[in-house]
């Protein structure tokens, strides 16, 4: 999101909160999120792909809503039909904006013409219906959806696979396949969207997902304040806020534009803008990068660049989160917090409870807990089970950022760190509790913990920031050594 997007979203949020009739709020939010999905999508070089990808997101949302409905749910009700019609109408209307002047178009580039888009929507609907008929078993459908989502995620996040897919698409459009690159498939918010999809599928498999209307489901998946940088909300929590947008007579929270809400939203958005556009963008001028890593003349210089990177990453990401939360407040949603002073935590476990909290929670719910339970059931030793589960969780979090050597090492780095922390804290718990009698020593110990944790996390960013081949030399050079 650029500054112009944020200003327009905030202004739109104010108008929404102040003037939108309460019965239309939910519908307007879904429509705005659909338009934002196309508007925020980066321009791509493959013909019409920057229109196709948001359309595929919407198609997936409809398909997965259908799949994750409770088993006893009847056919489409009136609201669902209206939502479906509205979605199709919006896609067609967005494709019709190809006739507008370029500066007035809400799409990344000129959209395809209306008849082919309409035909494509019809074919997609038909394909969905046929697939749902072909795979009768509900559980099988959900599992197939899960595998397909993970597969798509892996393809998009693995540079050689993404390049291969890009080359294939370029072949279809008659473009030069030699120029295919992973950036050809830059799919707005897919990392977040995919994890929301997986969350709903897994919750349905476990029978915990509440019944959602199509409008609610689509809005949850593509809620525009959280589309580019999260947070990854939980559907059951999101939906409570969505349903509070109902007519004022039914819910007192429906009065949206209140002074406290305005102050809170303004404060969070202002703070986010400052963090992102003042602090983070300034630190970006000297943050560690593939370009400057090899140019640093000394270990001290590298540390300076690395610290700048660590703080830049935090202020950039938490700034965007503040903006998303502030916009959410304006629209009547209390999105979950994603950061809680992570660099001031005195151990790695506490760091991961305060850094990208919603992703950590997602990984805990869907990787760590089920995996450790499964291992314990198979009589694996508790310590080994924790080790395996922690490593797997951190690897998944690393791979979520991209399938590359750097992210794998970063995941292992943190997995090992968490294991060592647990091993250490298990053995020092009694001693640590005894420090309550010695407040000064406890303060000093906590300060040392904060310092060590920060250094560990910051060192880990080397693998995160740089390709693996440049990360190794930098890592050793930080300690004055050459590999």
């Amino acid at each position: 999101m650029q500054l112009s997007h944020i200003v327009i979203f905030a202004a739109g949020g104010l108008i929404f909160a102040g003037f939108c009739p309460s019965r239309l709020r939910g519908w307007l939010l879904m429509a705005a999120s659909v338009v934002a999905l196309y508007w925020l999508q980066p321009t791509l070089t493959i013909f019409y792909l920057d229109f196709a990808l948001p359309t595929i997101t919407l198609t997936l949302a409809v398909a997965l809503w259908w799949l994750t409905r409770p088993p006893e749910t009847p056919a489409l009700d009136g609201d669902d039909r209206l939502a479906l019609a509205l979605l199709a109408g919006l896609v067609l209307a967005l494709s019709a904006t190809r006739y507008l002047a370029p500066e007035l178009r809400p799409t990344a580039s000129r959209a395809p013409d209306v008849p082919p888009v309409a035909l494509a929507l019809l074919l997609l609907g038909l394909a969905g219906w046929l697939i749902s008929r072909a795979i009768r078993a509900r559980h099988g459908r959900l599992t197939a959806a899960l595998i397909a989502l993970v597969g798509l995620f892996i393809i998009l996040k693995t540079p050689p696979l993404a390049s291969g897919l890009a080359a294939a698409l370029r072949g279809l459009t008659g473009q030069n396949q030699a120029l295919a690159a992973p950036l050809d498939l830059e799919w707005l918010g897919f990392s977040y969207i995919a994890f929301r999809f997986i969350h709903t599928v897994r919750e349905r498999q476990m029978g915990k997902l509440p019944a959602l209307s199509l409008r609610e489901y689509v809005t949850y998946i593509i809620f525009f304040p959280a589309i580019t940088a999260g947070p990854i909300d939980r559907a059951e929590r999101f939906i409570k806020d969505d349903r509070a947008l109902l007519p004022a007579g039914e819910n007192p929270a429906a009065r949206l534009l209140t002074a406290p809400r305005l102050a809170e939203a303004g404060g969070r958005i202002g703070m986010g803008l400052f963090k992102k556009f003042v602090i983070a963008d300034s630190l970006a001028l000297l943050a560690l990068s593939a370009a400057n890593a090899g140019q640093a003349q000394s270990a001290g210089a590298l540390w300076l660049l690395l610290y700048a990177y660590a703080f830049r990453l935090f202020f950039d990401f938490s700034g965007y989160t503040d903006i998303a939360i502030g916009l959410g407040i304006l629209l009547g949603f209390k999105l979950p917090e994603n950061f809680d002073r992570p660099y001031l935590k005195n151990n790695l476990a506490a760091f991961w409870q305060s850094w990208h909290i919603t992703l950590s929670n997602w990984a805990r719910f869907y990787v760590f807990s089920p995996l450790s339970r499964a291992l314990l059931k198979r009589k694996v030793k508790a310590q080994s089970a924790v080790f395996i589960a922690q490593m797997a969780t951190m690897l998944i979090i690393g791979l979520w950022h991209g399938v590359s050597g750097g992210f794998i090492v970063w995941g292992i780095w943190h997995g090992l760190g968490l294991f060592v922390h647990k091993w250490w804290s298990d053995r020092t718990r009694k001693w640590y509790l005894s420090l309550n009698q010695k407040p000064r020593l406890k303060t000093a110990w906590t300060a040392a913990g904060v310092f060590i944790t920060f250094q560990f996390v910051t060192l880990g960013w080397v693998w995160f920031a740089l390709p693996l081949e440049s990360a190794w030399p930098v890592f050793w050079k930080l300690f004055g050594m050459t590999p």
Partner: protein, 387 residues
């Protein structure tokens, strides 16, 4: 960190009236701050606040960069900030003989690393003046061809107590009509007008190219770009200190041209019309010497690429037809003799394969050769006592 109680929190402090009062107060404060900023115009003073030479080492050449992200350098218009980021702003050592090396992009060192410039090679020579002081050379070149820019920079740099000034020049910096063309000059209209008035320069102080700022331009909002540049200059200081890089070096570049069209025109002048007396800004050279005052100036007619390619009988290089350059050299010596300016003419002293992407940009070897040519002359030049 904001907690999860914002909906439950009693709305007492956040009434509509409270918010309105906050907004009104914020608007009034913002307006007052902008007005105060415009009235006080603190930018020149802010330019003197620098982390360079304190937290980071000073830059060996003035800030200039068209690709800040890759060069950790940027172009800005605040003369104080430019000079304060330079190592010339360091305190002068008691045994130092301070030599300012003024000039254009060839002095600044386009495509040269900081230790390959003329000033760097002169420093590497470790020259000691006859009075025992160590000569320390400061590269104050700036990649713009205009004598007025050199005069303006000298005017600002005199505060750093030079003992000697080395001023390589070339014809391309002399055309009068080019004197107010450089953005650095245009954005420092007040300084230029002061120099025009002080030295009675034949330049129009009302020239529309000199950028006059309105009250709004001087407010905090109007100055946001200048303020951001000041901040960026400081931040790039960390990257400069960490990497020692202040210029982006392309892997390849277009070599200066050797073959030319059969065209002998220069700046709209034809050989038959000759070089009109007032076409070159000699008054700016006079003003430069006047501004230097008691500090000796060694004028250097800098080396230029001499082609032997197609139509090289008409042109020395892409910039200069032979007739124009010869006329310039002749005038330079006449003026120097008349005014008592010390001149070192090394126009043809560097081999043609030591020029890179322009008729005056040198390779490291060419730069070193030039330093070797200049040093003996410098050692014989009488030096100032400092201020």
């Amino acid at each position: 960190m904001t907690k999860w109680d914002w909906l439950e929190r009693p709305p007492v402090p956040y009434t509509p009236g409270f918010l309105l009062r906050v907004l009104v107060k914020a608007a009034l404060l913002f307006a007052a701050l902008n007005a105060a900023f415009a009235l006080l115009d603190p930018l020149p003073a802010l330019g003197q606040l620098s982390l360079y030479n304190r937290l980071f080492p000073g830059r060996p050449r003035l800030p200039y960069g068209e690709d800040p992200a890759r060069s950790y350098n940027l172009s800005l218009w605040n003369l104080n900030a430019m000079l304060e980021s330079h190592e010339v702003a360091r305190p002068k050592a008691p045994d130092e003989l301070r030599v300012l090396v003024m000039g254009d992009s060839s002095v600044w060192g386009v495509l040269l690393r900081p230790d390959e410039t003329l000033a760097a090679y002169l420093n590497a020579g470790g020259y000691v003046a006859p009075d025992g002081r160590t000569m320390r050379f400061y590269n104050l070149g700036h990649p713009i061809m205009a004598l007025t820019k050199d005069l303006m920079l000298l005017d600002a740099a005199m505060v750093y107590r030079p003992d000697l000034i080395l001023w390589p020049v070339t014809l391309q910096s002399f055309p009068r009509r080019q004197q107010l063309e450089a953005p650095l000059v245009q954005h420092n209209a007040a300084a230029v007008r002061r120099l025009i008035a002080a030295y009675d320069l034949a330049l129009d102080p009302a020239d529309p190219r000199l950028l006059d700022e309105s009250f709004l331009d001087k407010t905090l909002v109007g100055r946001r770009r200048d303020l951001a540049d000041l901040l960026r200059l400081q931040l790039y200081g960390a990257a400069w200190a960490a990497t020692g890089i202040d210029q982006f070096y392309p892997e390849t570049y277009d070599l200066r041209r050797s073959d030319f069209e059969p065209d002998a025109a220069w700046q709209g002048l034809a050989p038959e019309t000759g070089l009109p007396e007032d076409f070159l800004a000699w008054d700016v050279v006079e003003a430069f010497f006047a501004r230097a005052g008691d500090v000796p100036v060694l004028l250097v007619n800098e080396p230029v690429f001499i082609s032997s390619g197609q139509n090289s009988d008409l042109r020395y290089n892409f910039w200069y037809p032979r007739w124009a350059y010869d006329a310039y050299r002749s005038r330079l010596f006449e003026r120097a003799q008349a005014n008592g300016w010390p001149v070192l003419d090394v126009w043809d002293a560097i081999a043609s394969d030591e020029f890179t992407d322009s008729p005056v940009h040198l390779t490291p070897a060419g730069s070193r050769r030039l330093a070797d040519l200049i040093a003996p002359v410098l050692l014989e030049t009488p030096t100032g006592e400092g201020f």
